[in-house]
Amino acid sequence: MDRYEIWRFDGERGAAAFRISLPDTVGLMDYLESSPRVKMVVPGSEDSVQVSKMVAPGSRDTVYVSKVAEPDVEDSVYVDSRLSRDRQYQHLLVAHGGNLTLPYGLTAPESPRRQWIKYSTINILVAVAAFLASMLVLVTRARRGAKLFIRRIAGLEAVEEAVGRATEMGRPILYVPGLDPMDEVATVAAINILGQVAKKAGEYETRLVVPNRDPIVMAVAQQVVRESYSAVGKPYLYRQEDVFYVTYSQFGFAAAVAGLMMRDRPATNFFMGHFYAESLVLAETGNATGAIQIAGTDSDAQLPFFITACDYTLIGEELYAGSVYLSREPLLLGTLKAQDYAKVVIITAMLAGIVLSMINPGIAESFKSLFR
């Protein structure tokens, strides 16, 4: 294999990407994302390797390529996104060391071409299509009344009990839908669970308080809580001031919610969604007020804090499964089932890859390339 080869020339965005294999003697010392050059080191000297481009083929004038995508020496990808479709370019990899300049390779003259399909990511399209197809089949089955089993999830079994406790004590329920914006999966899951919690709160006529860090999440949460109250026939219970915006500041938000817990003394706290370092502040304060606490997050760094300070914790995908578990809606049920089957496919693929690697490494490499 050449030490330097073009593996994608994306004309749509006027960008070229290169996969570069370097000799074993050259190791990566540092890479500068903001700089057009990649600094490499040959052991024992201060040499460097740079990627440059020639705007006119054969020209002596070169321009540094602006971005390094991967610092991995064995399989580095360099992206040059400042190309124009009406010009030709040649890209050049050169090592500099002392007075020595060593060219590693030069690409053939190329112009960016328009590409309607990004063939390098066609495997993702196939994966998405297969997942969607399985989901549609399972959703259809669920809608036709097929019984799709979901195992018991302890944290979600406790939701009813937690809402009931707040009702008995005459205190509000606090629901924090994480700190991330609406584009995060955990926030979407948190909002789905909020809908179910709001329905139960509406049935029991218990006040539900939802502080928000993101204004769009707040807008969605207001809509969801209002619709949930309407769904149980009690739209008059909805109070817009109970689903409110606090601040985007992480610890400003944490301080405000901690203060709210101390003053309003909610009987039940839900922390669902993605959390950061404030998780322990929230969970500890809630614990100190004696509230029953149910947390759920996909943030592996914060899960230990919730596990220690909360009564129930939904770990990772249990949070995503939460809304399905509570609502049993066919659409969501089919999605969860499709995820489960995808897990079986993933496990099978991993084991197949290992067995193939042992039997025939050549075929195994081809198989692995499906997962690039």
Binding site: T121, I124, L125, A127, V128, L148, F149, I150, R151, I153, M182, D183, V188, P215, I216, A219, V220, Q223, T247, Y248, S249, F251, G252, F253, A255, A256, A258, G259, M262, R263, A277, L280, D300, L303, P304, F305, T308, I315, G316, A321, K337, D340, Y341, K343, I346, I347, A349, M350, G353, I354, L356, S357, M358, P361, A364, F367, K368, L370, F371, R372
Partner: protein
């Protein structure tokens, strides 16, 4: 001991103590610090977003660079303000729906590539092409991945063989959480030490 006369340090030190007072119990001093923090940060982010989003990403491209298609984004943003009136509130659902759907479509391919496909690829190994230690390490990783995935398999009750396998999976998770817990606690303790150093050094001047 040499107390500083820098008013900025005095303000920072007093507010640090005001927040610390919450450790005793909720009190008016903490409430004051909390409300000030929330108010100042809300104002700060409002100004910051105005310049980073409205000015830099809308006003400059549209009215200075002539990229008029960005007006569509501006209109979607203005539609969000329809929430302020109950009669026009329904209008704000459209930009929210557009934002959530467009972003989901944008990130799903990269999530699948980075979080699923590439991780599956990295888990495939040839034990015969590795040293014993490497093969052992890769096997532990594989067992951890498979058992943890099966713990999150919701379509079957954790009974019989699956019960034992998922128990191994949750054990892997708890070991990971334990390590993360210790690491994070160390980080928090160093933050606390940093705060005390500020009080002792910059404010009180006890430590030189």
């Amino acid at each position: 001991m040499s107390l500083t006369i820098d008013p900025g340090i005095w303000v920072a030190a007093l507010f640090t103590l005001a927040i610390f007072s919450f450790l005793y119990k909720d009190n008016p001093v903490y409430k004051f610090a909390e409300h000030l923090l929330v108010g100042v940060s809300a104002g700060y982010y409002l100004v910051q977003y105005f310049f980073s989003a409205v000015y830099k990403k809308l006003y400059v491209p549209v009215f200075i660079n002539g990229e008029y298609w960005l007006i569509v984004g501006g209109i979607l943003g203005i539609m969000m303000f329809a929430r302020l009136s109950r009669r026009s509130e329904w209008v704000s659902r459209y930009p929210v729906a557009f934002y959530v759907a467009a972003w989901a479509g944008y990130v799903i391919p990269s999530y699948i590539q980075v979080r699923i496909l590439q991780q599956v690829k990295s888990t495939m190994f040839n034990p015969f092409a590795m040293s014993i230690q490497e093969a052992l390490s890769a096997t532990v990783l594989l067992v951890g991945v498979i058992t943890t995935l099966l713990y999150f398999y919701f379509s079957a009750e954790h009974k019989g063989g699956l019960k034992h396998v998922s128990r191994i999976g949750i054990t892997f998770l708890m070991i990971g959480f334990g390590a993360t817990f210790g690491y994070n606690v160390m980080g928090r303790v160093s933050l606390l030490i940093g705060r005390f150093q500020f009080l002792m050094t910059d404010w009180l001047g006890i430590i030189q």
